[in-house]
Amino acid sequence: MTSAIPARSANPTNSPDNKPGVETRSTPDKRAKKQYSDRVKAERKLGWMLAGPAFVIMLLVTLYPILQATYESLFQFRLTAPDEREFIGLGNYAVILTDPVWWRDLGTTLFITVVTVAVELVLGFALALVMHKALKSVRGLLRTAILVPYGIITVVSAFAWFYAFDINSGYINSWFAWLPGIDENTNWFAQTGTALFVIMASEIWKTTPFISLLLLAGLAQVPDELSEAAKVDGATWWERMRKVIIPNMKAAIMVAVLFRALDAFRIFDNVFIMTNGAYGTEVLSLLAYRQSISRLEIGLGSAVSVLLFLCVLLICFIAIKLFKVDLAGSQGGK
């Protein structure tokens, strides 16, 4: 939005302050035109010289591997038997997509994604409201506290939650023994439901601060006068929330949800530490890891990786087309 204007007016070179496009076309002076286009060329060249290395490296570390994975996925190829490498076309994909394991893991991953994002949206919004309205005296304290889970290593969070619930070293069982269904022998990590509960709790704890900071930025953009005016008109807190605040920060909410959903869909660390995928808690990232790194089935693992990547693309596509999330726009691309 504003980026182009200061960039031009602040430029110390000799060109006048007119709109450059208009000037090039309308000026009759050939020399001025040539000089101008030289300057444009120089600026373009400098721009790509500065931005190029970062751009090339980003492509090298992602585009190259995904192309390589796509290629590898067309072979039956096990690292321990390199001589038996054989081209099988889409055979690996057929194997995966007809295997109930893929569909079960996809279901688990989607379940975790939907539940964690929904809880985080509510919790994150509450935290954002608290930080937004907080008195000056506690604002710093609140922000500092909330950044601790943001900055902490996911694996550390996983261990903290795991040890708290673990049947041997945990204390949750003795704390909540008064609840029906919980006693000292409750093994949280031996059943799908309870294991997923702890896994999601750790995931939610660690990533809610991120979503709440995005929502805080959205809240800050809602003009105070709107809410005040509604208050004067006699709107209740809930009405103001629903009719004024939330509609005005819809873009921020959408971006926060999409970002977190894509992140949650890649969940790996918490599951790996707590159950390693046992008892029906395996997620897609773990399936890919198990195939390629543990079993060295590069062909199958690559195919899972490619499918996972396609799922992420699909989620993005749905979000952008259906819900009209303008990532580039609201992300500062204006």
Partner: protein, 282 residues
């Protein structure tokens, strides 16, 4: 009026305490576990039983039989994360400067690419890299982790810095030149002080992300030569095979959380503004 403000104060105290419990409880929980003695681990209590609190878990990983494992992992984590952060921030600074300041085609392409890279599933990158690194000898080396770490640290650095640089009043540079400063002086005196906080904040955020990595760490390393802390924690086995490594892992977890807490305590304002300006705001 006074009644109202007292009520307000009580409300805010309650809210603040709730947020603090939410944010710190798991950390305090693992901190308590890290001081438990092996026999006390199964007590079913939150705190170590009175009189049995011990620092033996810390001794085990810092000077005891697990020190080789932990200290080398710590060295790897610090080294690899710092180098990956440094490279990302230098490249992103140049890139973001060009995006904020210069007019050239492809800006949108670069920002979109950064966005696409940041949502890329890490596990999809790991499989081909695993294979390639083994072939060209980068498996289980620092460089073998630094390169893929750039896929984590570069995109967010570019977004955050581009947002920061857009807010800088670049006219100041020209004003300084009018006042007789040379180009270099103008840049150093007028622009660097404005840009430095943004660069620094970006470095902290990028460091957090590199420090947090787990997937690359467990997939692309196999020994103490390059294995970072999160991966080492996952493969940690106790002092003997009959002893659960709970205490040692908890102590190690606390040690790697200290730098995070320090950075957060010192720079919370900058981190919040970095995270929120990189996103949502124009």
């Amino acid at each position: 009026m006074t009644d109202n403000s007292t009520k307000n104060k009580v409300l805010w105290t309650v809210v603040t305490v709730l947020v603090l419990i939410y944010a710190l409880f798991p950390v305090v929980s693992i901190l308590a576990t890290s001081f438990k003695s092996p026999s006390d681990l199964t007590s079913g209590k939150f705190l170590p039983s009175s009189g049995t609190a011990t620092t033996s878990n810390y001794e085990q990983i810092l000077v005891g039989n697990a020190q080789d494992l932990f200290l080398s992992a710590l060295r790897n984590s610090i080294g690899i994360s710092l180098i990956a952060t440094f490279i990302a921030v230098v490249l992103a600074t140049l890139c973001a400067y060009a995006i904020a300041r210069l007019d050239f085609p492809g800006k949108k392409l670069i920002l979109t690419t950064a966005l696409a890279v940041s949502i890329f599933p890490v596990i999809s990158i790991v499989t081909p890299l695993f294979n390639l690194w083994r072939t060209i000898g980068l498996y289980d080396t620092w460089l073998g982790l630094i390169i893929p770490y750039l896929s984590l640290t570069l995109p967010i650095s570019i977004w955050t810095l581009a947002a920061f640089f857009r807010q800088i009043p670049w006219e100041l540079e020209q004003a300084a030149q009018v006042d007789g400063a040379t180009t270099w002086q103008a840049f150093r005196k007028a622009i660097v002080p404005l840009a430095a906080p943004g660069v620094f904040t970006t470095a902290i955020i990028a460091f957090f992300i590199a420090w947090n990595d787990f997937v690359y760490g467990i997939s692309l390393t196999s020994t103490e030569a390059a294995r970072p802390v999160p991966a080492a924690l996952a493969f940690f086995t106790g002092a003997s095979q009959f002893e659960a490594p709970t205490g040692a892992i908890s102590a190690a977890a606390i040690i790697v959380t200290i730098p995070i807490v320090l950075l957060v305590l010192l720079f919370q304002r900058q981190i919040v503004s970095g995270l929120t300006s990189g996103a949502v705001k124009g």
